[in-house]
């Protein structure tokens, strides 16, 4: 980990430097004092439990989808379907969980399993199309995203919505994940699930024979095949596992915050997961930090909108992606 940080230090420093410079220049261009803005950020976001909690809440969803993307990218598959996998998992969980007469200790694990299953099912289609028909995963996962959005919208509006609302029935209280005591912020125990999962994915990829094998498929599928790895089966598995991880992202909102599925609740967290994974160079532990960065940018806008338009920080999110991938290519050394 430390070695990785030392190796990656250069592009991280350069890209953060560029982003910071752009931020300062933009604030000056808006005729505001950067120090005022940074003071506000420190005071209301980093030092105030509510601000920090909201940032951690946003980071939680991004860790799940970031992990889903990172796992697939690490194994050589450009799965950009996290958005759809997220919705598939969340929806399945939200409509099945209310019907499970289980105590909390069983219900929460069951919910996690269902969410993962839903996401995994959504990854299964591109996996099958790739392994059996050679269809490129970028196209298939992207199409599956939009199908998931449209399909869940339809199912909710036609069958599963509560009267007068656009969301599903609330989950039983036994399925609630506890909120963390950070004022009224939305951050909840899902954060710990996400962090634990990051370490689990790291362990899986670097310390188990199956994880090793999946990375080998990503590194050189021909060499893996020559060494006896069933590459087609593994491609299938990678896309399903990746879908499972993104499928879990919905628990943050559904089990930990609002307790129901609502149309468009994740608003792009799946797409943002792609950026989170790339900035983390597809290291699962790195995903935690990268998710924090994007959550910070997202929350920072809200925090300082009394002084500058919060949309400035949305631009910065896009800029960070571009600057980082360019710097990685230019200064990132091998890999």
């Amino acid at each position: 980990m430390m070695k990785a940080l030392a190796r990656e230090g250069r592009w991280i420093a350069i890209s953060l430097g560029i982003t910071f410079a752009v931020l300062v220049l933009s604030i000056l261009a808006l005729r505001q004092n950067p120090l005022t803005v940074f003071g506000l950020l420190a005071e209301r976001l980093l030092l105030k439990p509510y601000g920090l909690g909201q940032m951690l809440y946003k980071a939680t969803t991004l860790i799940f989808t970031g992990l889903g993307c990172a796992l697939a990218f690490r194994c050589g598959l450009f799965n950009i379907g996290a958005e759809g996998q997220l919705y598939a998992g969340a929806f399945l969980m939200a409509v099945v969980a209310p019907h499970l007469p289980l105590p909390m200790i069983l219900l929460i694990p069951a919910c996690l399993a269902i969410a993962a299953l839903g996401g995994g099912l959504w990854g299964l289609v591109p996996g099958w199309l790739k392994a059996k028909r050679g269809a490129h995963e970028v196209i298939t996962t992207m199409m599956m995203n939009f199908i998931a959005l449209a399909l869940t919208n339809y199912l909710i509006s036609a069958h599963f919505h509560e009267p007068e609302t656009i969301h599903t029935a609330e989950l039983p209280v036994a399925a609630y994940l506890p909120q963390l005591p950070m004022e009224s912020s939305a951050v909840n125990a899902s954060l710990f699930v996400a962090i634990a999962l990051a370490f689990a994915v790291h362990y899986f990829l670097w310390s188990t024979p199956l994880g090793f094998e999946l990375r080998a498929v990503g590194s050189n599928p021909t060499a893996a095949k020559t060494s006896g790895v069933p590459v087609d089966m593994r491609i299938f598995l990678i896309l399903v596992l990746s879908g499972c991880l993104s499928g879990l992202a919905g628990i943050n909102f559904i089990l930990g915050y609002k307790h129901y599925f609502e149309q468009g609740f994740a608003s792009g967290a799946g797409f943002m997961g792609i950026a989170v994974a790339l900035v983390a160079k597809n290291y699962p532990i790195g995903v935690i930090f990268s998710a924090l960065l994007f959550a910070f940018l997202s929350q920072a806008g809200l925090t300082v909108q009394s002084v500058i338009p919060r949309e400035l920080f949305e631009i910065l999110q896009g800029l960070v992606i571009l600057v980082v991938v360019i710097c990685q290519n230019k200064y990132g050394g091998a890999e």
Binding site: P209, F212, R215, A216, S219, A223, A224, A334
Partner: protein, 493 residues
Amino acid sequence: MSGLAVELRGIVKRYPRVVANDGVDLSVESGTIHALIGENGAGKSTLMKILYGMVRPDEGTLSINGKPADFSGPRDAIIAGIGMVHQHFMLVKPLSVAENVVLGSEPGASAVGTWDQDGAKAEVARLSKEYGVKVESSAVVETLSVGEEQRVEILKVLYRGAKILILDEPTAVLTPHECDELFKTLKGLRAAGSTILFISHKLKEVMSLCDAATVMRRGKTVGTKKISETSQNELAQMMIGDLEIKEKAAVPYRGEASEVLRLENVSVRGPRDELALKGVSLSLKAGEVLGVAGVEGNGQRELAEVVCGLSAAAEGRVTRGGRVGYVPEDRHHAGLMLAAAAWENMLLGRHWEPVFSTPFRLQRGAIAGYGRKIIADYDLRPPELEQEAGAFSGGNQQKIIVGREVSKDPKILVAAHPTRGVDWGASALIHQKILETKAAGAGVLLISADLDEVLSLSDRIIVLFSGRVMGEVARADAKIEKLGCWMAGVSGT
């Protein structure tokens, strides 16, 4: 002099690890078909790249049609009237023949950006007729056969006005019938005044087609012969050189051990669905090295893959007596994960073995111990298990692969061109490891285009030609001349 189309003098080209051309001379008379022959790695490709302006020589001079030339890129060579037909075709498949031919030099470009499509078709048809290069100018390239694609490449070169044509192993991808067609075309071009440089290692073709042949070996020219004044055997001798058959086998084969591999009438389909291996039968005994000699592309890859179980036999039966270790011919493509650490490459394919992992945990200690043993046994440099495979030299990369495959304790070891592009020290070590594997009781199938290697390690030798076994001989009885004939597709004794 009746006019030299090409004259190269004292060409030297050094690469970081190897001298590809070491004082090469080549004179090609105008209006002739001149063969350039030699084993892989003899320096033919480098020489041709120099002639085509793709590589600049470190020393030496070029003259074209008597005029000194100094090319800074293919563009200059094209202007000087040189054209290259690449071994791997450079064709845009969804475009038509005419479009491919004129691409980049489209005729009749107008102010609004259009070009003369009908004129191009007519011009291509005219060239096709004039030089006897038969191909339908409006056909889409992806519907063409390989032979026709090659004719499109030739037309591309002619369209740009080339009078000197370089053909890089043009027959490697052709069926016998397509070869005949190509030869007719080339003879027609010669009659029309073109000069042709024909790179090959198929001596029979050279004898029937060419006017003269220059032989290269290890970066040097061995000599040039008029075809009318030489024989196939003499050329084979020049290619192979004066090998002394060295006894390297540490443990002589006793000829009574059990069989570890048997192939009965095995046929395998190649990349274009043709039969690349045709009815091959062979038997490999424990403690034996069976050398498979032959010019590359005669079914060796298919043989290796069917023995390793990577491709299925179209006909016949393969019986293996145990685990197979495989050193593939293309280490970057099929052997290594270049971006992964050395230890990961050593582990690949063995990662499920109980020594190295439980189902839920890689045994890092055991893996590191295993890696350090390979480092020590193979003198891997630098001795770093964490270094990425791509950062090792070619010889050390090959040591990683051989180390991995040999340490599997295979009953059968398939080694395909195990020392190609590998420095001398690593080669010697790899040879020693192959012999140790044999001594440990495995059967070794050694596939190599390097006759020296085959002769020095094998107990028994077969020669593959065109997917068939041309002949088999015990090492003690092997005669270079005979092997050379077999390699060139000439049977008999």
